[in-house]
């Protein structure tokens, strides 16, 4: 049930992000200052923001940013994580120790603290947000993959491939990495939720997407100044973030239950 709700939320968001610009008649950047902070109406179903811009149009444009950042961060992090985790787990010894120490140091920074630090010094921009989230994101995948590879490398079919003289890259690519992919998929689904929240958090703190580019985090930040006179500025983008994150968490949870029923 929750999986279906999750898929429906994600599907709706993807549809809005892809088709939204054709469905919403307003430009997300066009200002109507005379009508600023206006509430919902037929012309503007979600109202107008502090500069008189259509909130629905900005929400749809923001969906592209959120999904785009999520997909980019998850894709790059998963690729790096799989590669590093597989090499560490398969090689063992000094390679594993060195990679393990690097991961320990990165994991010593809780949550998005390191991302905040990196964006703080590199400067706020969408590219730097993606970079910072990849720097903290790959470790999770590497841990999952390394843990699995430690078991997989001892299996007979892997030893057989080694005995037949298969090169290491082929053993990893064809025999060791594929069995780790279900766990990576769960991690990636939950990682989408994490990346979306992280991007919104950084944008909310003024460290992510910069105005006037519409992002759910910056919309929420701008709405904070109007909690008293126009609470819809805060409610709507926040609801969008929460729903999308919930959608990915629902799907990620359902996938995990299917892959590891003991977790339920």
């Amino acid at each position: 049930m929750t999986r279906r709700i999750g898929l429906a939320i994600i599907g709706l968001t993807v549809f809005a992000a892809v088709c939204g610009p054709w469905l919403v008649p307003h430009d997300p950047d066009v200002q109507a200052l005379a009508q600023r902070l206006a509430g919902p109406s037929w012309a503007h179903p979600l109202g107008l923001d502090e500069l008189g811009r259509d909130i629905l149009a900005r929400l749809v444009a923001g969906a592209r940013i959120s999904l785009g950042v999520g997909l980019t961060v998850v894709s790059i992090s998963a690729c790096v994580g799989i590669l590093v985790g597989a090499v560490a787990g398969y090689a063992g010894g000094l390679v594993d120790t060195v990679i393990g120490r690097v991961m320990d140091v990165l994991l010593a920074f809780p949550g998005i603290l390191l991302a905040i630090a990196l964006v703080a010094v590199l400067g706020p921009s969408l590219t730097n947000v993606v970079l910072a989230l990849v720097v903290i994101g790959w470790v999770g995948y590497a841990r999952v993959v390394r843990g699995q590879v430690l078991k997989i490398r001892e299996l007979e079919y892997v030893q057989a491939a080694r005995a037949l003289g298969a090169p290491v890259w082929r053993i990893l690519w064809q025999h060791v990495v594929p069995p780790t992919l279900p766990a990576v998929t769960v991690q990636a689904t939950l990682g989408m939720a994490g990346s979306i929240i992280a991007e919104a958090s950084l944008s909310f703190l003024g460290l992510g997407v910069q105005p006037p580019t519409p992002s759910w985090g910056t919309m929420l930040d701008a709405g904070r100044a109007h909690l008293f006179d126009a609470p819809h500025l805060t409610l709507i983008p926040g609801l969008a973030i929460a729903m999308l994150v919930l959608g990915f968490n629902f799907v990620g949870d359902a996938l995990r239950d299917r892959i590891d029923p003991r977790a339920t």
């Binding site: 929750t2 120490r101 690097v102 320990d104 140091v105 010593a108 920074f109 809780p110 949550g111 998005i112 603290l113 390191l114 905040i116 630090a117 990196l118 703080a120 010094v121 590199l122 400067g123 939720a193 929240i197 919104a200 958090s201 909310f204 703190l205 003024g206 460290l207 985090g217 929420l220 930040d221 709405g223 904070r224 909690l227 008293f228 609470p231 805060t234 409610l235 983008p237 926040g238 609801l239 973030i241 929460a242 994150v245 919930l246 968490n249 629902f250 949870d253 977790a263």
Partner: protein
């Protein structure tokens, strides 16, 4: 136990050194000249040179690194560019506020999570379990930078029961603590449920029931206590998430803590203060993890011999 403690302490040193190295490297990741960036494009060349010397940026990199590490070991995180005071002093001034908020948030989380988790475990698979777990998943999904303003709209703006922001009596603490504690409550509730389900399968619970104890008594007196060991561990490990959460929560509610100090430092490009705050939060996280590990080794002797 002593050997276990010593081994864990020794293992922590390289991690702390790595953290300090990464924090040191931050200043050198600044695009361009950090001194110029801090003072702005229009600053006089002499001022930039003077700041560069003050920050030690004119010295060779290894010398800068050694000086930085030596300072960190001695508790000297440098001088704040904005305030002109030692970074350590700025952090120490705000630390009690952050600790107060973090502890209040963890208390809120425990009070919400344990009953939810117990309900989920006792009514496993039934509507009440699904409702409890859905509530917890909603809690995990709800970002604190939305929950905070949402609570402020309802309880401060709408009902007028609580202040919107600032620090003062206990009423100022309620909204930030609930905002910060909600996600932790959700995680703890799921952990309590999973752990209690495992524990309910144990024979001693069956024995308790066979002795005539009611289900409620068997759960609350026996199973719940044992199921809380991993929950306590998670609580300790989640302290890091709470610390990071304070950055956003303190910003939303204008709570004068270390998290808000970090964001202010970023806005003013006060790099020594940024480095100090990041290093402080990360080191605190490492040390709390160490304490959790030691506590776990004390609670469960098998861990010590692994």
């Amino acid at each position: 136990m002593v050997r276990f403690i010593v081994r864990r302490l020794i293992l922590t040193i390289p991690v702390l050194l790595g953290v300090a190295t990464l924090v040191f490297a931050l200043l050198h990741l600044v695009p361009g000249d950090p001194a110029q960036v801090m003072l702005g494009e229009s600053a006089a060349a002499s001022d930039v040179d003077e700041l560069r010397t003050r920050l030690g940026l004119d010295r060779p990199l290894p010398a800068q690194y050694l000086q930085f590490i030596r300072g960190v070991v001695q508790g000297d995180f440098g001088t704040s560019f904005r305030y002109g005071t030692p970074v350590f002093q700025e952090i120490a001034q705000r630390l009690p506020n952050t600790l107060q908020l973090a502890l209040a948030a963890m208390s809120v989380a425990i009070v919400i999570a344990i009953p939810l988790g117990v309900l989920g475990a006792l009514y496993r698979g039934r509507a009440i379990d699904q409702a409890a777990m859905t509530v917890s998943l909603v809690g995990i999904s709800m970002p604190n930078f939305w929950l905070g303003p949402l609570l402020a709209i309802v309880f401060a703006v709408g009902l007028g029961w609580l202040p919107v922001s600032g620090i003062g009596d206990w009423r100022h603490l309620v909204l930030p603590a609930v905002t910060l504690g909600a996600a932790l409550a959700a995680i703890l509730a799921r952990m309590t449920r999973a752990s209690l389900i495992e524990e309910l399968r144990e024979l001693y619970v069956l024995a308790a029931r066979a002795r005539g104890l009611s289900q409620t008594r068997a759960v609350l007196r026996h199973a719940l206590r044992n199921s809380l060991i991993p929950v306590v561990t998670i609580l300790g490990l989640q302290f890091g998430a709470v610390l990071t959460g304070t950055i956003i929560t303190e910003t939303i509610f204008a709570w004068p803590g270390v998290g808000r100090l970090l964001i202010q430092a970023i806005n003013f490009r006060d790099y020594p203060l940024i480095q100090g705050c990041i290093l402080f939060i990360a080191s605190t996280y490492v040390m709390v993890n160490l304490l959790v590990d030691l506590a776990y080794g004390w609670l469960d002797p098998r861990i010590r011999y692994e």
